[in-house]
Amino acid sequence: MASYKTELELRSGEILKMAWEAVIGLEVHVQLATSSKIFSGASNEYGAPPNENTCEIDLGLPGALPVLNEKAVEMAVRFGCAISAEINEISIFDRKNYFYPDLPKGYQISQFENPIVGKGSITIEDEAGAKKIIGITRAHLEEDAGKSVHDLVEDRTALDLNRTGTPLLEIVSEPDIRSAQEASEYFKQIHNLAKFIGICDGNLAEGSMRCDANVSVRQRGESSLGERTEIKNINSFKFVERAIELEIERQIDVLEDGGEIIRETRLFDPDKDETRSMRSKELSDDYRYFPDPDLLPLVLSQAEIEKIRSELPELPQQRERKYQTKFGLSSYDSKQLSVDRNKSDFFEKLTEASRLPKLSANWVNSNLSSLLNDKGLGFDQSPISPSLLAEVLIRIDNGTISSTSGKTLFRAFCETPSEISEIDDRIDEMGLRQIGGTDGLKDIVLEILKEHPNQLAELLDGKQKVLGFLVGQVMKKTNGTANPKEVNEIIQNEIKKE
């Protein structure tokens, strides 16, 4: 009885939760992959010893002045174009004033009222697999702060300001997200897109992308928003999902107990699996934003914007669609091939040279992927060029070599690449040329049948199982150069004769 009651309680709880709807907006901070910082010529490389990538500008020394990095601007515009956003021809840099030890100037240079990128959108797949558009309110350029290390020196917070001045693009979504899973999916989409268009290395472990989640809940059907909380600084897809899940549950619990949600900043603690209030970080809510007098308005011409737009690569979602419609690939394969820019580019070059989209897709997703994976290489570092691999695939397709020989040849070419004009010589040298009917394959088949009279008899009795064995024997004898399809045909013909 007791367990039944618990179950009932549980079910009614779930029903109650069904009555609530979560409203979520994400602010994703993307570290831009520039060589130097956003406002100084110090190196933007990750992992230097503490404070070795800082100059007087990053340290906010007296008299130091910021000068904006054009690459950061270009990358912001590139992102804006990729999400079909309005690019603002005039944008303004503001100072956001607050004191924190890892913020050297006592203000962060950011964009407040006039960001560089205006409204745009991104498409994600919701839990049911349906396409859903998430609006993007804006994206603006700003400088990253340094890092505070709290457990290094006794009683002290140690400051490493290397990260100070790393260019950030803060992408602010509309509150269009309705579940933790959608939020994670959206974060993933931004991650993939930013990597794809080359504005971020996407290394979450190094903090290259972080997000803040604004979460509120309301009764289903309600149109106004509930009070929200902000979960700061989440740096993995898994954590985004879990943190929001926990926060939604917490808020529902508070509201159902007749409590009130307090607008506050919270921290996700993956070890304790909870979100908690960040009381200690006494941040003021009066940031006294005002236009930075050291930086004049950022003005972009339509021509500059159009140039960046025209140089934008075809984007993952467009490629995915193209692979399905034009090449007839499965939706799974299409997605697999379009997430990574280098992989996708490799596949497209391979297909263009081979005219064999399906075979190309299989090879890129399996043989090439596992080889590169073993060697720890990216698709842009492949030891075999798309044009050479295309020649291999063409020869598999036209029967010059068998699929098995193709793999052997591929591995050989990865070690020692071949001139395209010498491919056929290499095939012959390695004895990989497939033996067809005209090449005495029939004689070999007959020989095998003669050597295995028992199996032949079984086959004649209709036991198709042994067919595989006999084909295998032929393959063995020919070192894999026989065309299994032809071998099969020859055997079938012989049986009919009997």
């Binding site: 007087e56 340290l59 906010g60 020394l61 007296p62 008299g63 130091a64 002045l65 910021p66 000068v67 904006l68 100072r95 004033n97 004191f99 030890p101 050297p104 100037k105 006592g106 203000y107 917070t157 400051l159 300001l161 006494e282 009066d286 006294r288 934003y289 005002f290 930075d292 007098p293 050291d294 930086l295 004049l296």
Partner: protein, 491 residues
């Protein structure tokens, strides 16, 4: 002998003829500075200066120098220098040794000038009397009981006393021109953006501009040419469209006489000054040199002071946020928490005037007040800017008094910040518009020097310097010096 009344022009000629060496001049300047009782200097750099002087003598011998090579000078202690402390007149930076040289410092080093030390100033350049310096008040060169003006007070006095023929200054709302007028020297606030702000400690970024304080307008023209120039390290540094500056650097400056049309504001504004007689005499002298005067209307001039204080305080309040006791500068002893560290370090490190401006700026930028104060001030700033633009379609330059009165007594405006701020009435308009303004001595009132201001449109330094050079050919106020009260005629 002191080198007091020598212009750079005279000294350069003496150096090139071999009548004197840079090392000799530098030793004299250093001695005078050491013996100074007006408190002009915050620090002296004897070794550094003598090394520079030796290099300069070599250059002069090889005829590789320029107009400024070998001339001793001093930097306002707001310019970062690697070789000494840079205090900005504040306890906060008492021991601050900048790891880099300001662009202006580099440029003058490259020109072969010899820096003997850093001059006293109002703390963070906030003041009109040089009384807010952590390193003590600076005394007026003519009367010890009077203020020299500020914030570049140390620089103006060092030139007026003849320790050096030139010192750098910075001007946010009059900090070059007002002390120049009070001390009887020539000071130029150039067009905003013409001299790099890199390495110059910021007070109010949209107003701050470095400039020269010298003996004559002719010297100042050369100094401006060598100090100015595009700097890629300053986002607000502007490229000049003409080649005037380059020609001054290579061939020197010769003032051409072309009759100019000069505007004089109509209305009650000129009745506000105490030295109307001296001002009118100067006007007539300029007129008799062939220039004409017409009345012009600058309707928003009277709003300049409030607009200036809103903008300057707001910008200062955030520019000074970096002095937090974390990476450099003063830190309080044994801070108990980060909050304690901030509050006590800043509380101890900043003086009263700086605190007053930081709090005023914090107030005007805070939620609910921003539009009423800051944005409103920016709008009136545009009106003032437009007033000038309209006026300069009719005249080549505008003449204004530099200050309402002569220097005042030390301590007399201590308890009255608003009256102190009103001292800037005639200087802040050009700062707000970002246009060049030159203060030149135009006589004495109650035995203290007074100055007049020539203001031109953006990048018209040549025009106003030409008018001033001509005036200084016909007058000798700029060569009149304390101590002996005589006009030097040796050179």
């Amino acid at each position: 002998m002191t080198q007091t009344q020598y212009t750079i022009k005279a000294l350069t000629e003496a150096l090139s003829k071999g009548e004197v060496s840079s090392v000799e001049l530098t030793r004299e300047a250093l001695k005078a500075a050491r013996d100074d009782s007006n408190n002009c200097f915050i620090s002296l750099s004897e070794e550094h200066a003598l090394r520079q002087a030796q290099d300069a003598d070599l250059q002069i011998k090889q005829k590789a120098g320029c107009f400024l090579t070998g001339i001793p000078m001093a930097h306002k202690d707001i310019f970062c220098t690697k070789h000494s402390t840079t205090t900005c007149g504040s306890k906060m930076l008492k021991n601050f040794a900048a790891p880099y040289d300001a662009t202006v410092v580099k440029k003058l080093d490259d020109a072969g000038m010899v820096c003997i030390g850093k001059t006293n100033m109002d703390e963070f350049a906030m003041g009109s009397s040089n009384e807010s310096s952590f390193f003590g008040v600076v005394h007026h060169p003519w009367d010890f009981d009077y203020v020299p003006g500020g914030s570049s007070g140390g620089s103006a006095v060092a030139v007026a006393k003849g320790y050096v023929p030139f010192a750098t200054g910075t001007d946010t709302g009059g900090s070059i021109r007002q002390p120049s007028a009070f001390c009887g020297v020539t000071g130029l606030k150039p067009t905003y953006g013409s001299i790099s702000r890199f390495g110059m400690i910021a007070f109010a970024s949209s107003l701050d501009q470095a400039g020269p304080i010298g003996v004559s307008a002719l010297d100042v023209a050369h100094l401006f040419a060598f100090m100015s120039g595009f700097d890629k390290r300053d986002s607000t540094s502007a490229k000049r469209q003409d080649n005037w500056v380059d020609s001054v650097k290579s061939e020197g400056f010769t003032a051409q006489h072309t009759p100019k049309k000069i505007g004089l504001p109509s209305g009650p504004i000129l009745n506000m000054i105490s030295y109307q007689k001296e001002f009118e005499t100067a006007r007539r002298q300029i007129e008799s040199a062939g220039h004409s005067f017409i009345e012009v209307d600058l309707p928003n001039l009277e709003h300049s002071v409030p607009v200036y204080y809103v903008l300057a305080s707001a910008e200062a309040s955030t520019n000074l946020a970096r002095y937090d006791g974390v990476r450099f500068g003063h830190r309080c002893s044994e801070p108990k928490s980060i909050e304690d560290l901030y509050k006590r370090s800043r509380g101890e490190g900043f003086g009263e005037e700086v605190k007053r401006r930081i709090l005023t700026g914090t107030y005007t930028l805070s939620v609910g007040y921003f539009d009423d104060y800051y944005v409103k001030a920016q709008k009136i700033r545009r009106k003032i800017f437009d007033d000038f633009a309209a006026t300069f379609s009719k005249v080549d330059a505008i003449m204004l008094p530099t200050t309402p009165d002569t220097a005042f007594k030390l301590g007399s405006l201590d308890d009255d910040p608003v009256s102190m701020y009103q001292q800037d009435l005639f200087t802040v308009p050009a700062s707000l518009a970002g246009i060049p303004a030159l203060s030149i001595p135009c006589g004495f009132h109650n035995d203290l020097p007074v100055g007049l201001q020539l203001i031109g449109p953006a990048n018209s330094e040549k025009t106003i310097l030409e008018i001033a050079c001509e005036y200084q050919k016909n007058t000798s106020w700029h060569l009149t010096r304390p101590n002996s009260n005589y006009v030097l005629e040796r050179f």
